[in-house]
């Protein structure tokens, strides 16, 4: 194998990691909780760049062990204009999100949001084991996000559907979070449930009859699943521009995903610990 092909393979392994983490593993950064803002208003504008390192255990599409470690680039930001907003949180591994604030009260906020979700898996570039599988492309999830600010607690409900025509899937979530300020340290905790319907699971981790016929995989049609997720983190302002963050995440993984033959290594839970340093412009 040439070095360029090795690099391509490594990159694809990374993309596959994103695909898996987006679909099954990730628990996104909770910036509202981190910021511990007391104000009730529209989205704040900011942009920040940084570097992070993370390590954890979880299932893998390509590796035969469940441990991983990685360095990553942090690109976080949001911009709001007359209710329209764009946000990007690289630390969570998620792509960009566009939205419109449709309703805002003292305690509740409803956003219409749209953005690509779930990384793609392409047979012509991916690991050799995926050569005979159909391409998996990212979904464009469109839906609503309702956020409530109830005292020191923040609740968020989300319902989205793929409008790209790729997965045709629907996902939903319910989250409960809280933050605490201890001197200049901002701690946050979060628990939640995530739902992915059978179309999402089938499109990304299912094996069709045709794929089974031309590959070594057995046919697999997963159902829907619900994952429990939890997160605890701390944010500390080092200077007026530099911010330190550390986050521990935990989530359960359902049989609907883990029974898929596409996984090289499976687990019932996934955990990670990440630390980053970002510069806020």
């Amino acid at each position: 194998m040439t070095s360029s092909k090795k690099i391509t393979k490594l990159l694809m392994a990374g993309l596959l990691g994103l695909f898996v983490s987006s679909n099954v593993l990730s628990a996104d950064i909770t910036h509202t909780l981190r910021n511990n803002s007391e104000e009730k208003a529209t989205t704040g504008n900011y942009f920040e760049l940084g570097l992070g390192i993370a390590a954890g255990v979880g299932p893998s599409l390509t590796e035969d062990n469940d441990g991983w470690a990685a360095a990553y680039l942090v690109i976080n930001g949001s911009y709001n204009w007359n209710g329209l907003f764009i946000e990007k949180y690289g630390e969570s591994g998620d792509p960009i999100l566009l939205g419109y604030n449709a309703y805002e009260s003292d305690n509740w906020s409803l956003d219409l949001v749209m953005g690509p979700k779930f990384g793609g898996l392409h047979s012509d570039e991916a690991d050799d084991k995926f050569q005979l599988l159909d391409d998996r492309n990212s979904s464009t999830m469109f839906g609503g996000r309702l956020t409530g600010y109830l005292g020191d607690n923040v609740v968020q409900f989300s319902l989205k559907h793929d409008i790209s025509g790729n997965s045709h899937g629907t996902s939903a979530s319910a989250l409960l979070g809280r933050n605490w300020q201890v001197r200049n340290w901002n701690f946050h905790g979060l628990v939640g449930l995530q739902f992915f319907d059978s179309r999402i699971n089938d499109y990304y981790v299912g094996i069709s009859e045709n794929e089974a016929l031309r590959s070594q995989y057995t046919e697999y049609s997963p159902g829907s699943n619900i994952n429990f997720t939890a997160e605890a983190g701390v944010t500390y302002p080092i200077t007026e521009n530099w911010v330190f963050r550390s986050t521990a995440r935990f989530r359960t993984l359902s049989d609907a995903d883990m029974d898929s033959p596409i996984f090289e290594t499976t687990r019932s839970t996934a955990m990670s610990l990440g630390t980053s340093l970002t510069y806020v412009f």
Binding site: I29, T43, L97
Partner: protein, 145 residues
């Protein structure tokens, strides 16, 4: 004609005299003022100088040390002039040091004053700054998927 010349000379002499007196008073006044300034030189420093909180509106916490010095021994007080509260007083001292747990949502000014006086002999500030300067709620940043 001669009388007029003499009158002018006297007038000029009068003006010169006034100038000389004024100059003398100016110089001596300055010397006296300088002496007074030297006698009342006061310094007030605080370290570290800046308190950084994550988000605008948050309370900022900072352990600081105030150091002051004055050329004259007397009774002095360190005063938070933003809240108008006395932090600590010293009796018959010319210098002092005080560790202080600063907690505030806004920048605070501090001054060294003579006890029972409202005149600031020296002053300093602890500015409060934020990383995220918008007080707006970053609601859209909280998302699950």
């Amino acid at each position: 004609m001669l009388i007029l010349k003499r009158i002018k000379k006297i007038k000029l002499s009068g003006i010169s005299l006034q100038l000389l007196v004024s100059l003398f008073l100016f110089i001596t006044g300055n010397v006296a003022a300088s002496s007074a300034d030297i006698a009342n030189t006061a310094q007030l420093q605080v370290t570290p100088e800046r308190c950084i909180a994550l988000h605008k509106g948050q309370k900022c916490y900072l352990e600081v040390t105030f150091k002051w010095r004055h050329s004259q021994i007397s009774d002095y007080c360190l005063v938070n002039t933003t809240t108008n509260k006395i932090i600590k007083c010293w009796q018959q001292q010319a210098k002092g040091q005080f560790n202080f747990d600063f907690q505030s949502k806004i920048s605070n000014d501090f001054a060294l004053r003579k006890q029972k006086s409202a005149i600031n002999l020296a002053h300093t500030q602890i500015p409060v700054a934020w990383v995220y300067k918008s007080a707006k709620r970053p609601k859209s940043t909280w998302r699950l998927f």
